[in-house]
């Protein structure tokens, strides 16, 4: 991981045309960008294409990056935009293929094995539930609740209004809650 002062130096060098600096930025953010792309698209092939396209766009427009946010946050926005384009293209072609074999690993240090197992189980269930959400709902909840992007940025990158983004966020959260913690009567209603 690149610390912010190093990142600022690398960004400045990349803006001045230093391709080595841009390469260093790619190396330090590619796993995060790929992870976001995977969470948005739901499959490896699309995630690779989206990540590659996102870095190409970033390379072409690095001079326009103002540096008022982290480079990684800027990359998340570009990735969201590329994923949105990719999903629109896909929805016109074939159906999304959702893979079950997530090779997710947790970098978070934990000390409580029991709590860790429980939290890990819930994370796995949330990951599965996210993958099963319709892409338009998944994109909003991933960008807001996982990556903490503001609503205006989400709306802008997905090409929707801010109020539409909020409505989708509501629906996504509700669907996740219903699936993970069904209230009495909801399971039955879903099964019908």
């Amino acid at each position: 991981m690149v610390i912010p002062s190093d990142e600022a130096r690398l960004v400045a060098a990349a803006k001045a045309g230093d391709s080595g600096a841009f390469t260093a930025l790619v190396e330090s953010t590619q796993a995060d960008v790929y992870t976001l792309a995977y969470r948005l698209t739901g499959n490896e092939d699309d995630a690779r294409d989206v990540a590659q396209e996102a870095y190409l766009r970033a390379f072409r427009s690095i001079k326009r990056f103002r540096g008022d946010a982290r480079f990684s946050t800027w990359m998340y926005r570009i990735t969201a935009n590329c994923a949105s384009t990719q999903l629109t293209r896909r929805s016109k072609g074939r159906h999304d293929e959702l893979s079950d074999d997530d090779n997710v690993f947790d970098e978070r240090p934990e000390s409580d094995p029991e709590g860790m197992a429980e939290a890990g189980l819930l994370r796995d269930r949330v990951t599965e539930a996210l993958a099963d959400l319709p892409a338009i709902l998944r994109a909003v909840v991933v960008l807001r609740d996982v990556y903490d992007l503001p609503h205006d940025a989400i709306a802008s990158e997905l090409g929707i209004t801010e109020s539409a983004a909020k409505v989708r966020l509501h629906r996504a959260r509700r669907k996740l809650r219903e699936r993970l913690f069904p209230m009495p009567g909801e399971e039955k209603a879903r099964a019908v």
Binding site: V104, R123, H170
Partner: protein, 130 residues
């Protein structure tokens, strides 16, 4: 199905509150007073709010999980950027030449025009002198 029973004196139902909970859970929206009163008195809605909080907390935790991309991804990205960089360099070079070419034509045109003006003035002076 969720109960449509009304709780408290405000006439707000669990269904009404359920619609508001996904927004209330992280302060995206501020619950109005009637909803707040309902939640304070309704164990079912309190339980549902707790579940939303758990979902939200787990979603936040996903941020620390990183998928390991296939080993070929980084070289592919760098190759694509390298190709784009070369294309840009060629484009910049051609653009530079185009600018120089257009600049040359403009300079030649300006010089020609200035020459013509000077020649016409010189002819006029000769005519006046004679």
């Amino acid at each position: 199905m969720r109960s449509s029973r009304f709780f408290g004196s405000g006439g707000v139902s669990c269904d009404d509150v359920a619609d508001a909970l996904p927004g209330i859970v992280d302060g995206l929206e501020v619950a109005d007073l009637e909803v707040q009163r309902h939640v304070a008195a309704c164990l079912r809605c309190q339980a549902e709010l707790v579940q939303y909080r758990k979902v939200l907390r787990t979603l936040h935790q996903l941020r620390t999980e990183v998928l390991e991309p296939a080993p070929g991804l980084l070289p592919d990205i760098l190759a694509a950027i390298g190709a784009a960089g070369e294309r840009r360099a060629i484009h910049d070079l051609l653009n530079g030449r185009r600018v120089a070419y257009v600049g040359g034509i403009a300079a030649a045109t300006a010089a020609g025009a200035a020459g013509a003006i000077l020649a016409s003035r010189a002819r006029r002076r000769v005519r006046l002198a004679s």
